[in-house]
C-alpha cells in the first residue's frame, strides 16, 4: 500500500520490513487471499507492498463486487466454528461415560460455555445453509460448464463435508436427541451397498448404536479430519473461482484503483458484522435445549435424522415397500454420484437462465417434499 511504501522510502524499517526479510510474506498473503478476502492476483515474486500496490491497480473481477462477497461468509463461519469448537474441546471428554457430563460441565461451569455452545450450533446450521445455497446458486446459474467443472465439484464436496461435520458433531455430547438422530443418519449410510457397511465398520458403528470406539472416531473426524478437509476444499474452491470466474459475465470488471481494495474490505467488514450479529442473536434468543443423556438401550421414538438428511431418509422410507433397502441405498448413492459429476454429463446447448432456475426449483421442491415426508414418518 502507498503508506507502507512511503514509510519504507523514508528509511524507517517497519515490522513488515523486518518480517519480509525473514518470511515469504507475499506468498503467505497470496495463500490467505485465496480464501476470498482479496480477490485480485498477487505477484508472489515481489515484496508484499509492491505486489499489493500492483494488484490494486489491476482490474478486479466482478464477483468481488457487492453482494457477491457473500461467499466469504463460508470462511468466516468456519473460523467461528474453529474458535468456539476449540474452546469447547478444552473441557470436552470423548468417552461415552464422560461425554454428556463434560458437555454439561461446559454449559454449567465454564464462563460463557452456554453462549459458546449456542454459537457453535447456530454457526454450523448457518454454514450448512450457506453451503447448500451456494450449490443451489451454481446449479441455477449453470455455473459448472467448462472451465468451471471443478468449481461445482468442490462446492458439492464442501457441502458434503459440511453435512458430515454437523453429523459427527451432533453425536458428541451423547444427548438422547443427538445420539438417536446420528443413529438414524447411520442407518441411511448403512443402506448403501458395500460402501455403507464398509464406512460404518471404519467408524466402529454398526448402524444401530454408536459404540465407545465410534465416539472417539467421530471426535477425531469432527475435530481434525473434516475441518482440514473443509479448509482444503474452501481453498480449492476459491482458487478455482479466482482462475475461472463465476460466469461468462465476470469479464465485467471493477474500475482499477486503490479504492477497490478498500471498498472490498469495507464490504467484508459490513458482512462480518451482520453475520456475527445474527449468529449471536440466535445464540442468545433461540437457545437449543440440553437434552437428557442418551441411553443406547432405550430407543427414543420420534427422533429423525438431521434436517439435511430428511430427504434421503424420506426417500428410503417412501420406497421401503417397493424396493429392498439396499436398492434404495444404491439409488441414493447413484443420485449423489450423478449430482457431483453433473458437469461431465450435462453438456446440452446452453439453456436459458429461466429454464435453469426452473429446474433448480423443481429439484428444490422435490427435496422439500421428500424432507417433509421424512419428517412425518420419523
Amino acid at each position: 500500500m502507498p503508506e507502507r511504501s512511503g514509510s519504507k522510502e523514508a528509511g524507517k524499517p517497519t515490522v513488515l520490513d523486518w518480517l519480509s526479510r525473514r518470511l515469504r510474506l507475499t506468498e503467505i498473503f497470496s495463500l490467505l487471499s485465496s480464501y476470498g478476502f482479496y480477490p485480485a492476483e498477487v505477484d508472489t515474486r515481489k515484496p508484499l507492498a509492491e505486489a499489493l500496490s500492483e494488484a490494486g491497480s489491476k482490474p478486479w473481477p466482478s464477483y468481488a463486487r457487492w453482494p457477491r462477497v457473500l461467499s466469504l461468509i463460508v470462511i468466516a463461519l468456519l473460523m467461528v466454528e474453529f474458535i468456539t469448537g476449540s474452546l469447547m474441546a478444552l473441557y470436552y471428554l470423548p468417552t461415552p461415560e464422560s461425554a454428556y457430563a463434560s458437555t454439561g460441565a461446559i454449559l454449567r461451569e465454564v464462563d460463557f460455555g452456554q453462549l459458546i455452545r449456542q454459537i457453535h450450533f447456530w454457526g454450523a446450521q448457518a454454514l450448512l445453509f450457506v453451503l447448500i445455497a451456494r450449490v443451489v446458486r451454481l446449479f441455477a446459474r449453470r455455473a459448472y460448464g467448462p472451465p468451471r467443472e471443478l468449481l461445482w465439484v468442490f462446492a458439492v464436496l464442501l457441502m458434503f463435508v459440511g453435512f458430515h461435520l454437523e453429523l459427527t458433531g451432533r453425536a458428541l455430547p451423547m444427548t438422547a436427541s443427538g445420539y438417536w438422530s446420528a443413529v438414524r443418519a447411520l442407518e441411511i449410510v448403512q443402506s448403501v451397498p458395500i460402501l455403507g457397511p464398509a464406512t460404518l465398520s471404519v467408524l466402529g458403528a454398526d448402524g444401530t448404536f454408536i459404540s465407545d470406539v465410534a465416539l472417539i472416531r467421530f471426535y477425531l473426524l469432527h475435530a481434525a479430519v473434516l475441518p482440514l478437509l473443509a479448509v482444503a476444499l474452501v481453498y480449492l474452491h476459491f482458487s478455482t473461482l479466482r482462475t475461472v470466474g463465476i460466469s461468462a459475465r465476470s469479464t465485467e470488471q471493477l474500475v482499477p484503483g486503490d479504492s477497490a481494495s478498500r471498498l472490498h474490505l469495507a464490504n467484508i467488514a459490513i458482512l462480518l458484522h451482520v453475520a456475527l450479529g445474527v449468529l449471536i442473536s440466535l445464540a442468545v434468543l433461540a437457545t437449543i435445549p440440553f437434552d437428557p443423556p442418551a441411553d443406547p438401550t432405550v430407543t427414543v421414538p420420534g427422533i429423525g435424522p438431521p434436517w439435511y438428511l430428511l430427504a434421503p431418509f424420506g426417500f428410503l422410507e417412501w420406497t421401503a415397500n417397493v424396493l429392498p433397502r439396499w436398492a434404495g441405498g444404491l439409488v441414493l448413492f447413484l443420485g449423489f454420484a450423478l449430482f457431483v459429476s453433473l458437469p461431465s454429463w450435462d453438456r446440452s446447448p446452453k439453456r436459458s437462465r429461466t429454464m435453469s432456475a426452473l429446474l433448480a426449483s423443481v429439484f428444490l421442491v422435490l427435496w422439500l417434499a421428500l424432507s417433509w415426508y421424512g419428517a412425518r414418518v420419523a
Binding site: G257, H273, V284, P289, D291
Partner: protein, 399 residues
C-alpha cells in the same frame, strides 16, 4: 494268544450281570405313566430326590402292573386325605429344617376356610394339589410356579372366579378381576412391583381366610402402618367397630381398591356425611390443601425440567422437591386421623418448598443479563455498520 482278551471278557460279564440289577434299582413307574413322569422330572421334588414311591408307595422296581400297585400303594384319589399325605413329609420338622421350610402348614391349613371345609367332608374345598399342582410342583419363588406372587391370582381365580362354584358358597366371583384392576393388582401385574400385595398378602397363605371385622385395619396396616396409626387415633375406628363396619374397606372397598386421587377425597366423606356437615367441610379442606400442594409441586417439577434442558444445575432443586413429595405423600395417611392440623402442616411444608423452588428457578430461567448484553452488542454493531456504510459511500463517490 487268548490272554489279552481275558480282562475284556471279565468286564463284559460284569456288565451283563450288573446292568439289569441297576435297572431294577431305578423306578419303573414312568414306563406306564410317561406324562406324570415328565411332569415330575421338572419338579422341585425330583430335584430333591423324592421318588414316586415316597408319596404313592407300591413296588416301583417291577414292571408287573399288579405287583407295582400292591402293598402300601396310594392313588391320592381321595381329596379329603391329600393334606394328610403331604403332611407326612411337610410336618416332619426335622426333615423340613434343612430346607428352611415351616413344619406347621397342615395345622395352619386346618385353620383356613379351605381346611375347615375339607375337615367337614367337603370334597370341593381346595387341597394342597389344587394350588401347588400334582407331579410338577415348583418352588414358590420359581416364576413358572402356580403360587409365585405374580401367578397366584390366576391360581385363586381357578375357583374364586368360577361363577358356579362361587355361587354354591355364596361368594362373589368378581373378586379376582376387582383385584387385577385395583391399585395393588396393577402395581404387581402391570408394573412388576414385587412389593405390591398379591391375594396371600392379605388372606394368608395356607391359612387363607377373609380378614374378620376388627382385623381389616391390622391386615391393611401391615403395609400402611402410618395410615393405620392415624385411623386408630381418629373417630372413625371406634365408630365403625360399633356399627359393625369393616374398617378400611368401608371407604376403600376390599378388592377393588383404587389409586388415591386428591380430587375425589371430599366425595368419599359424602357417602356417610351430609353435604353441609362439618365433616364434609373438613373433607373439602383436605382435598383443597392436598390438591393445591400437588399442583404446586407439579409446576415446580416442570420448571426443574425446563432448567435441566437449559443446562442449569438442578440437583439441589430435585432433592428439595423429593423432600416436598415425601411430606405430601404423608398427608393422605395423616388425614385418617380426621384432624385439620397435621394435614395442613404437611401440605403447607410441601407447598412452600414447591413455591420456593419455582421462585428461584423463575429468576434463573428469566435471567436478563444475556439479553442486555445482546442489546449492547447490537448497539455496537449498528454503529460500526453505519460508519462502514458511510465510508463505503464515500469510496464509491470517489470512484
Amino acid at each position: 494268544m487268548m490272554r489279552p482278551f481275558a480282562p475284556a471278557v471279565v468286564v463284559c460279564l460284569t456288565l451283563f450281570v450288573a446292568l439289569p440289577a441297576a435297572a431294577e434299582e431305578r423306578e419303573s413307574c414312568g414306563t406306564c405313566h410317561p406324562a406324570s413322569r415328565v411332569d415330575f422330572e421338572g419338579s422341585i421334588h425330583a430335584r430333591e430326590e423324592v421318588t414316586c414311591s415316597d408319596c404313592h408307595g407300591g413296588d416301583p422296581r417291577t414292571l408287573d402292573v399288579d405287583e407295582a400297585h400292591r402293598g402300601k400303594f396310594r392313588s391320592w384319589k381321595d381329596r379329603l386325605t391329600t393334606p394328610l399325605l403331604c403332611a407326612e413329609c411337610h410336618s416332619d420338622l426335622e426333615r423340613m429344617r434343612a430346607y428352611n421350610l415351616p413344619g406347621d402348614q397342615l395345622a395352619v391349613y386346618q385353620t383356613s376356610q379351605h381346611g375347615r371345609s375339607n375337615a367337614a367332608g367337603d370334597r370341593r374345598a381346595a387341597v394342597c394339589t389344587d394350588c401347588h399342582g400334582g407331579h410338577g410342583i415348583l418352588a414358590p419363588g420359581d416364576p413358572a410356579s402356580s403360587v409365585h406372587p405374580r401367578n397366584i391370582q390366576e391360581t385363586c381365580a381357578a375357583c374364586h372366579a368360577d361363577p358356579d362354584l362361587t355361587a354354591a358358597y355364596d361368594l362373589d366371583s368378581s373378586v379376582v378381576d376387582d383385584y387385577r384392576n385395583s391399585v395393588h393388582g396393577r402395581a404387581l401385574l402391570d408394573e412388576g412391583n414385587a412389593a405390591a400385595p398379591d391375594c396371600t398378602s392379605c388372606h394368608g397363605v395356607h391359612g387363607a381366610a377373609p380378614p374378620g371385622f376388627g382385623d381389616v385395619d391390622k391386615v391393611c396396616g401391615f403395609c400402611h402402618a402410618q395410615t393405620r396409626r392415624a385411623f386408630r387415633e381418629g373417630p372413625h375406628y371406634q365408630a365403625m367397630l360399633a356399627a359393625d363396619l369393616p374398617e378400611c374397606a368401608s371407604c376403600h372397598s376390599n378388592h377393588a381398591i383404587s389409586q388415591f386421587e386428591a380430587d375425589a377425597l371430599s366425595g368419599i366423606c359424602l357417602e356417610c356425611h351430609g353435604e353441609d356437615s362439618t365433616q364434609a367441610q373438613l373433607g373439602r379442606v383436605f382435598q383443597t390443601s392436598i390438591s393445591a400442594a400437588a399442583a404446586e409441586l407439579d409446576r415446580a417439577a416442570e420448571l426443574v425440567q425446563q432448567g435441566e434442558r437449559r443446562a442449569l444445575d438442578v440437583e439441589d432443586y430435585l432433592a428439595r422437591l423429593e423432600g416436598a413429595r415425601t411430606a405430601l405423600t404423608e398427608a393422605p395417611p395423616a388425614s385418617h386421623a380426621v384432624l385439620r392440623e397435621p394435614v395442613e402442616e404437611l401440605t403447607r411444608r410441601a407447598r412452600s418448598i414447591g413455591e420456593e423452588v419455582q421462585r428461584e428457578l423463575y429468576a434463573k430461567l428469566n435471567r436478563r443479563p444475556a439479553h442486555i448484553g445482546l442489546a449492547f452488542f447490537w448497539f455496537y454493531l449498528l454503529t460500526a455498520i453505519a460508519i462502514l456504510w458511510v465510508y463505503r459511500r464515500q469510496l464509491e463517490r470517489e470512484r
